[in-house]
Symmetry: C2
Subunit: 200 residues, 2 copies
Amino acid sequence: MILHVPSLERLVNELSKLPGIGPKTAQRLGYYVLRSTSEYNEALQLALEGVRKSVHECPKCFSFTENQSLCFYCEDQNRLDDTICVVEDPADIARFDSSGAFKGRYHVLHGAISPLEGILPKDIRLQPLLERIQNENIKEVILALDADLEGDTTVLYISKQLHGKGVKLSRIAHGIPIGGDIDYIDFRTLGRAIENRVEI
Amino acid sequence: MILHVPSLERLVNELSKLPGIGPKTAQRLGYYVLRSTSEYNEALQLALEGVRKSVHECPKCFSFTENQSLCFYCEDQNRLDDTICVVEDPADIARFDSSGAFKGRYHVLHGAISPLEGILPKDIRLQPLLERIQNENIKEVILALDADLEGDTTVLYISKQLHGKGVKLSRIAHGIPIGGDIDYIDFRTLGRAIENRVEI
């Protein structure tokens, strides 16, 4: 569908590059922005600029931060210093942290090992993790990685690297979600739920 | 969920104001923008600025345009000058035009009459439409308004205004969509489809 307004078409085109936004939704959003106040347009523009100019990776855990030195999670005084939760994406940190079940430090790998896609251990933040475990005298490492081939490969790699170093290594439990109905759970998850059964 | 990155939270907040974008989607989009190249971020920002600075309403039909004088549809030489299709939103024009069934001029009301919401005839572009019909010697007016209470009210108002002025007035057909299964069509649409039956 040709809109005959070049800058609107350009905006629609850029919006359709966002994940989960198809051409129809992009068009609806484009028209919404066009009809909205110029204050909203400007606020959105400034927010994009703010993210681009102020947010960078924390030099220690590689999560996103605006702080000059360390991020919120690395600076926080009320956390266990000898426990690290390893995640693939910075977005995962806020999710685990809001669960309230973990009060240690975090480390973001920014991906997972995937030989198929050419992502090797050196392409993610694995070396800095191993250095942190050694230098910060870490006692427990919790791997909160995805339950897919890449996650499994990464877990295997890290467990080999840490073998015999006296660090307690664990992986988050995979099983049936709270409130989940067994009828709708796939058989791999059911298998994992039985394997990892918890004694009462 | 607190993200502990103020400019990311600001971006997520602005994105969640878009239609159909809830807080979770806004967060996913925010993180996507953060992880994407700064080129993409900048392109999106410039596209927003482009829309804000270059797009305005056509002084004749009130659709969106970047042209200095009239819009694409008003300037086009290959259209019937004596037929006007009246729509509620600028986005509707591209939809009707891509159907190829109409090759006349357009007029955007920017809304529909809605006494309940306090939108009166003077709040939409109705007066300019009546002026155009008179000044441009329009022979046929097609009302392509939504099939809701506001659309019906607006159709009634316009038909009263044009009564006895020798202008052919019609409304787009409401009925069963092409490919639509009668099982799944609501009874109001079915009723309208029978009322407006077409002789073979």
